[in-house]
């Protein structure tokens, strides 16, 4: 299977390891992911006011280019991109007048015909590959590790673009079980990490990271697994900074789901890019004997 891939800006910079591990997984599964041509930054936040069509231009343009490449499906790794692209897609599907305005405005582009389906990589793994297939490919089961799956906001809300139930999602937990790890449930798994406040108000985000992590460690969790690059930064880097704010607090490691799949598949660890973490995630894996010391 050849899948068209929309990276988004962050995947090319701070979250290179997420992209690398995802590509490695695709190869291991015998499929191909190809970066789409001429994509632009999606704009991150979906346009929330009724009259704001301007902020739909960027995502729509990328969707048009997917159609231009003769494809009708595009996969993303970044939660925010996924959410924004899906919301734009939904907006133009439900409001053909708006689509017309946008098409007319972008007169140098082809018209968007509304045929593209945007999916998240997790959806692809769950629906088109299947977790049982992934389970079969596991060579290094993550035995003995208790991991809390963390979803954040963008995968699950708003409901119209969610990839799983907004209050009781199971997709990451199911994936973890397929990889052999023990899933730790945590009521804060769907809470917001702090998002862009990390730029101007990092103490606030550190507080959030502390609260979310404390819930995890109270339930004997060793680590957290997530999918969004911003969540990872907020929980990992800002979480480490929280160690200075809260006495005796130790931040636990965070993993991208793709990194854990790559580890479990027995792939070369260089694809995981573990050096880009604030809290060294290899220590835990070594401790549990998943990877060699």
């Amino acid at each position: 299977m050849k899948l068209l891939y929309f990276p988004g800006c962050t995947l090319k910079t701070s979250a290179k390891n997420l992209e690398k591990s995802a590509f490695a997984i695709m190869e291991a599964l015998g499929h191909e992911m190809v970066e789409m041509e001429d994509w632009t930054c999606c704009g991150v936040v979906a346009s929330l006011t009724g009259d704001d069509l301007m902020h739909h231009l960027a995502p729509l343009r990328s969707l048009i280019h997917v159609e231009d490449q003769g494809e009708n499906k595009v996969v993303t790794l970044c939660d925010m991109c996924c959410n924004t692209l899906k919301q734009t897609n939904l907006r133009v599907k439900e409001n053909p007048d708006d689509l017309e305005t946008l098409n007319l405005f972008m007169d140098r582009e082809n018209d968007y015909k509304g045929t593209v389906k945007v999916i998240h990589f997790l959806e692809f793994l769950r629906d088109e590959i299947g977790f049982d297939v992934i389970k079969k490919k596991v060579k290094r089961p993550l035995k003995g590790i208790k991991i809390m799956p963390y979803y954040g906001c963008m995968l699950l809300r708003p409901r119209e673009v969610a990839i799983d139930d907004a209050e009781e999602p199971t997709i990451l937990g199911d994936l973890l079980s397929a990889l052999g790890a023990e899933v730790v449930d945590n009521p804060f798994k769907i809470e917001c990490c702090g998002s862009y406040h990390t730029v101007e108000n990092k103490e606030l985000v550190s507080k959030r990271a502390h609260r979310i992590t404390t819930f995890a460690t109270e339930r004997d969790s060793d680590a957290m697994m997530l999918s969004c690059p911003l969540c990872k930064f907020n929980l990992d880097t800002r979480g480490k900074e929280a160690e200075k704010m809260f006495k005796g607090y130790k931040q636990i490691p965070t993993y991208y789901y793709t990194q854990l799949i790559a580890v479990a598949f027995g792939l070369d660890l260089s694809v995981c890019g573990f050096e880009n973490h604030a809290v060294d995630p290899t220590l835990l894996l070594k401790k549990r004997g998943i990877i060699k010391k």
Partner: protein
Amino acid sequence: MPEKSYNKKIDHDLGIPLQDDYFYNEPEEIIETNQIKEIESAVKLSEKLKTKKEKRVINADVLIVGAGISGMQAALDIGDKGYKVVIIDKTSTIGGSMVKLDKTFPTNDCSICTAAPKMVEMSRHPNIELITYAELNSLEGKKGDFKANVWKRSKYVDPDKCTGCNDCVEVCPVDVVSSFDEKITTRKAIYIEFPQAVPIVYTIDHENCVGCGSCDRVCEPGAISFLEKSEEIKVNAGSIIVATGFEVFEPTEMRREYGYGKYENVITAMQFERLLSSFGPTEGKPVRLSDGKKPKTIGWVQCVGSRSKQLGFPYCSRVCCMYATKEASIVKEANPDIGISIYYIDIRAYGKDFQQYYDHAKDLGVRYIRGRPSSIYENKDKSLTIRYKNTLTGEIKEDTADLLVLSTAIIPNRDNKKLGETLGIDVDENGFFKQQSLLNNPIQSTKDGIFLAGCIQGPKDIPDSVSMASGAAAKAVEPIKDRERHIGKDFPAEIDVTGEEPRIGVFVCHCGKNIASYLDVEKVTKAAEKLPNVVYAEHVMFACSEDSGKKIKETIKEKKLNRVVVAACSPSTHGGLFRDTLLEAGLNKYLFEMANIRNQCSWVHSDDWDAATKKATYLVKAAVAKVGLLGPLTEEEFSIIPKTLVIGGGISGMKAALALANMGIKSILLEKNSKLGGRLRELHSMFPSDTKTEDIINPLIEEVTKNKLISVMADAELVDVDGFIGNYEGIIKQNGKNKKVKFGTIIIATGFREIDLEGAYQYGKNTNILSQTELEKNIKNNSFKKKPKNVVFINCAGAMDKKRPYCCRVGCGVSLKNAKLVSEKFPDSKVYILYRDMRVFGKEEEEYYSDVLENHHVTTIRYAGDKKPKVNLDKDDPKNSSVTVKVFDDILNEEIKIPADLVILTINVEGEVSTESLKNMLKIPADAGGFFMEAHAKIRPLDFATDGIYLCGAAHYPKNLVDSIAQAEGAASRAAIPIMQETMTGEGAVSEVNKDLCSGCGTCESVCTYSAIEIQPRSDNPERSVAVVNKALCKGCGACAGACPSGAIDQKGYKSNQIDVMLEALLKEVTA
């Protein structure tokens, strides 16, 4: 589970048959059932099976689908009128959801204790046929001529042989999740829903039974009958009543943030009722489901799934605020150490005595927190953390609850849509059945001849369900009113016991845990055995249950008893039931005595086992002593005048009179004003559908005036009344002239009026301060001079304060409706509603509230009861200029000043002015608010304790139009029963005058409140007088007997010698 109720098995080989009077007492022909009883060999069986090819046909008058409290009430009303009722239920017993509850609000009566007598009455009623474990397959035909196919599933247990001994359950290997216990425990594949089930026949759940046969092997009477087939029964009926009830929403797909289904200690309120119930899985102890320990804290979350435009249902479930208060206050009272909190948005304590009940709960220490929790999560010890905002203090908090109860939405029975298709009636968008017209005909479904009763039309509490059920009974009689009727039970001929030595049987009741947990029932029984003239004594689990009734009758026959003592509860609870049992056994019902070892013993001496046991022994001794001296008594029969007097010509009175007329009964409609219509004449429109009042009452007035069976008397008032049920003689003053009228029953529909605010809120001092009624009048007459810029509605004026602690029930709805009217008339005005709680609870009312807020931009401001809003007049022109309203916003915690051009007060209401005089004339009670007091708050809301007088509409308590009409039609049904029965019997235990001792002094006449004893000239010597008792009026109170200075009056059943032996029995014990 109940203990064995028989000391020894019935020996079938001796050919002693079980009494067959409890299941089908059919007057019509029933074909094969009688034959199934005697199956002995396979050969005979196959012959019977061959003849079974014909479908059983029942010709009935009314078919009722659903046997909960609504279905039962409707069935009893129709059966009492003499028509034949077939009632079906899909579970194996009747009783519905009411029997699952522990206690009912606001009286805290034990639910099963109030429902069980109705259930047993159902099983004994000669005109009612129960078909349980059955469903409606198909329906054809039209009003007056319906043909229904009922699929009766086989219970695989022979009802005539099953003794309810429970041996089968103990050996059954299959565990099934119990739906009666709301899935918190299991039952076996062979089971009985609950101990007081009617009919008391164990049922094999075919889907889960594995066919091992263990039950068959242990069943001594051989009641298991795997060959008993399910059958289709054809029922012909003239009308159909649907009363299939409700279910409780389980938030497993929607509202998952509350953790139901994920966290063990999160349960629904119905599950909590099962925990509180004395025959539930924990025998009445509220425990955490995770470890069975007593919780330290319990929390209730309101509105889970209700009032939700997304992820839920948009309507209000109407009963949750009250049942949460009930559950919380019951637990708090019994366990003051448990921390109890209720998280709410509004507390809808709208009904009669509800606000006082809510205030009492607060006094007990129940914490009410206004804040809807956002999410629930589980802590390590399996307790729950509740995250909420206390909207009245502004704090975000996290509380811990060991046990969390979710007050989830009331949803229609899941089979509703399918049933709707079978019946051919419409279902609304929430799944409840649609009525033909919400404001005009709330009981008629969308198909003629099919009527709705109870929660199937919309969520409601027990009194409203019962009223509606009676209303459905009245409407269901219309198509069949000319059919043949059959009144009364056919009892076996009375055995003559004169001259016999007393042979007394004593039955001591456990009453479940109510008696047996507090005194030694076994010891009391043993002591009774030794008493003189007692030939039989035993103890039973529930004396009022069907199988105990069977037992008593059998024992009477076997042991040739001629006197019976039941040591149990109060005679007012089940006395009538036991007397009927004696009648069915052929004994005069007055050869019976009760010893109250519950209310007067176990309940008040619950902390002293020995003393309570001793006292119970004395009480039984006294009862035994008395019963030996009791003799048979006769009851006087008298005829009923077939006419009803309806006092009050408003909407309730008119609807009642019409319902009576449609049943073929004459009525006199009395109205004190010159025109009919009541309060609706003054109002503009009704909520929640904004129908104009004239569109409601004008067609109705026309219909009433044209109807030949209704004689309207306007400008008329009742000034005096004499007589008793069935034989009233009244004096009506019409246009200054007195007129004598005779009637059989009375319906009171006198309505209500606004109270005198006594100048509060500056009412009366300024032309811009109006009442809601005055506002509607002005809008109707278009008499507003200028356009108001700011309009402020102040709710609860004169309500819920020290003087009048009750809620007016309709105020919130009226204020919303009028806010909408004002906003439509003056689109540029800004409308505010100052409220204490938004109590809109009825069908479509929450949606109406939502519409008013959104489309008319009404701003609601909540204020606390102890910080009432103030209205300040303008100093320069206090009479005519705009005013200022100051209110302390309870949510923002700041004072808001609103310059108001128009202030509308929602003034509290009280009973009509005629309450006082009617109260005294008819000897009926009224409460402090001037509203009449019904016989029983829950299951007899339309009756008075005095027979023959009935109540409906706002005279009972203010209510909206839908509830008034349902009640009015219900009262008509109740008032029609004595008339359709044509004769009635009086009291047997009446006073008796010994003419030789009577001096004619007249003391007795002066003390009798029922005017039942009169001084008349002697027949043999007209110069002298003697007292004469009117046996029909006499209630047997004994006042005259006590007052007579010559000792000439004795009360039958309470004669001096009978009381003397009781005293002897009691005192002898003490001095010994």
